[in-house]
Amino acid sequence: MEILMHRIGIWIGVFLTFAIFSFLYKDNPFYKIAEQIFIGISAGYWFIYTIYNILIPNLFVPVTTDLAHNFLLLIPAFLGIFMLCRLIPSIDWVSRYALAIVVGTTAGLFFKRYLQSDVLNQLTATMLNPFASSNAVQIIGELLLIIGTLTGIVYFFFSKKHEGAFGVTARVGIYFLMVSFGAAFGYTVMARISLLIGRLNFLLGDWLGIIKP
C-alpha cells in the first residue's frame, strides 16, 4: 500500500509541476488551481507549525503547568489576542498596542545591530593597508576595494550636485556598482538553474526513472 501511495503521490506531483510550468505559455486554469492549492497548503502549514512549535511550548505549557512562575507570560498572551482583533474592524485599534511593542523592539534592535554590523564593522573591514601584501593581484584588489567602497558611498550622497570632481567620483562609484550588479546577476543564474535541475531530477528520476534520483 505504501508503494501505491508513493506512486500516486509522484503522479500528483508531476501533474502539479506541469500545471505550473504551463504558466510559461500563459496564465490558465491549471496554473490557477495549482497556485491556490499552494496558497492553501502553505497557510495551513504555517498555522499548524506556529501552534505546535511556538504557542504550545512557549506559552500554553508554561502557563498551564506553572502559572506562578510564568504569570508575566499572560501579558504577551493578551497582546497576541489583541493582535487577532485586527480581524474585527470595529476593534482593530487594540492591535496597535501589540504592534507598538513589535515595532519598537524591532526598531531598537535594528538601530544598534545595523550600526554595528553594516556600518561600523564594514568601515573597519575597509581600513586596510593595501601595500602590506607582496602579491600584486591582492594589492590591486584591495585598492579596488577601497576606491570602490569610497566612491560608491559618494554616489549615494544626496546633499550635493553631481558635478566637477565630486561628479567624477560619483561616476566611478556607479561603475563599481554596475560591476557588482553584473557579477551578482552572473552569480545568481546558478540559483535559478539549480531549481530547474531539481525539478528535472524529479521528473526524470522519481517519475520516469530514466536517471537515478
Binding site: L24, Y45, W46, Y49, T50, Y52, N53, I54, I56, P57, N58, V61, P62, T105, T106, L109, F110, R113, Y114, Q116, S117, N121, Q122, T124, A125, L128, S180, A183, A184, Y187, T188, V189, M190, A191, R192, I193, S194, L195, L196, I197, G198, R199, L200, N201, L204, I210, I211
Partner: protein, 280 residues
C-alpha cells in the same frame, strides 16, 4: 543583414526550450567537468575540522522546499562531516518549512551512521518566529526560547542540551539560509554581538550580498554559495551527491545563456553599424 536583425529578437520560447533541454541532457549523460574548491568553502570546512570531537554546533534551517535543490546538498554534506568528526548538532529553524528540511536530511544521513542517537548527538528543536529578535533572545536565554524539542519533549530530558543556556557552549553557528530571516541576522547577532564564529550556506541569489561580511574581522568565517558551493563541499567530504551531479547541467545551461548573450550583442553591433552607414 536580415539575419542580424533576427539575432536581436529571438522568441524567448526558443530560449526556454533550449534551457530545458540543456539542463535535462547532462542529467542523463554526465560529462564530468572538473571542480576546484574555493577559499570561502575551504574556510567552512576548516572551521568544522578544527573543533574538538563532542563539541556542539548549532545549525539553523532557514529555508524551505522552494530552494531545497540548492541548499539541501549543503545540509547533507555538512551533516556528514559533523557526524564523521563526532560533532553534535543542535538543529533549529527560523522558517517553519526548515523543520521538515532538517528531518529529511537527518533521516538520509543518519542511516549511514547507526550509532548516532537522537538527543545525544543530534536534536531538532523546531521552528521559532521573530527572526533577529528571537536570535537575540536565545543568545541570552536559550532555554526559555526552546523549552521543548520539535516533538514537544522538554529539553532537560536530552543530554545534548546539558548546560546550554546561551551561545557560550557552542562551537559555532551554521545558518543554511534562503533569505530573511537567515544568515545576515545570524552574523549580526551570533557573531557581531556574542562573538561566536558564524558560517553559512546560502542560495546563489543571496551570496553576493553576503560577501562583504567575509572579511578579516570574520563576521562570516566562510560561505557556501549556491549549488557550486554545495558541490565543492561534497568534494571536500568526499561524498559526491546531487550538487556534483548538477554541476554539468549548470555548465551547459550557463553556456547556452552566454551563447545567447553573444548572439544578442553580435546582432546589436551589426545592425548598429548598418544604421550608422545609412545615416552617413
Amino acid at each position: 543583414m536580415k539575419i542580424f536583425e533576427r539575432f536581436l529578437h529571438i522568441d524567448r520560447r526558443i530560449i526556454f526550450v533550449l534551457i530545458f533541454i540543456g539542463v535535462a541532457l547532462p542529467l542523463i549523460w554526465t560529462l564530468g567537468f572538473n571542480l576546484e574548491v574555493t577559499e570561502n568553502v575551504q574556510s567552512v570546512y576548516d572551521l568544522l575540522e578544527g573543533l574538538d570531537p563532542g563539541t556542539r554546533i548549532l545549525i539553523s534551517f532557514d529555508y524551505g522546499p522552494s530552494t531545497k535543490p540548492e541548499i539541501q546538498p549543503m545540509t547533507i554534506a555538512l551533516m556528514e562531516q559533523a557526524f564523521t568528526s563526532r560533532l553534535r548538532i543542535i538543529a533549529i529553524a527560523l522558517w517553519p518549512m526548515g523543520v521538515q528540511m532538517c528531518n529529511e536530511a537527518f533521516e538520509k544521513v543518519s542511516a549511514e551512521y547507526p550509532n548516532i542517537e537522537y538527543g545525544i548527538d543530534f536534536i531538532n528543536l523546531g521552528y521559532k518566529a521573530g527572526g533577529m529578535v528571537t536570535i537575540n533572545h536565545m543568545a541570552k536565554d536559550f532555554r526559555s526560547t526552546f523549552p521543548a524539542d520539535a516533538g514537544g519533549n522538554p529539553i532537560d530530558e536530552f543530554p545534548i542540551m546539558k548546560d546550554i543556556k546561551n551561545f557560550d557552549k557552542l562551537g559555532c553557528v551554521i545558518s543554511l539560509s534562503a533569505g530573511d530571516p537567515g544568515l545576515k541576522q545570524w552574523v549580526m547577532i551570533a557573531h557581531d554581538t556574542f562573538g561566536k564564529p558564524v558560517v553559512g550556506g546560502t542560495t546563489a541569489v543571496q551570496a553576493p550580498t553576503m560577501l562583504p561580511y567575509v572579511n578579516e574581522q570574520q563576521q562570516l568565517v566562510g560561505l557556501l554559495g549556491g549549488l557550486k558551493g554545495a558541490a565543492e563541499y561534497e568534494l571536500l567530504v568526499n561524498k559526491p551527491g546531487f550538487a556534483t551531479k548538477g554541476m554539468d547541467a549548470q555548465s551547459v545551461a550557463h553556456l547556452i545563456i552566454i551563447f545567447f548573450i553573444l548572439i544578442g550583442n553580435i546582432g546589436y553591433f551589426a545592425t548598429r553599424k548598418q544604421k550608422d552607414t545609412l545615416k552617413a
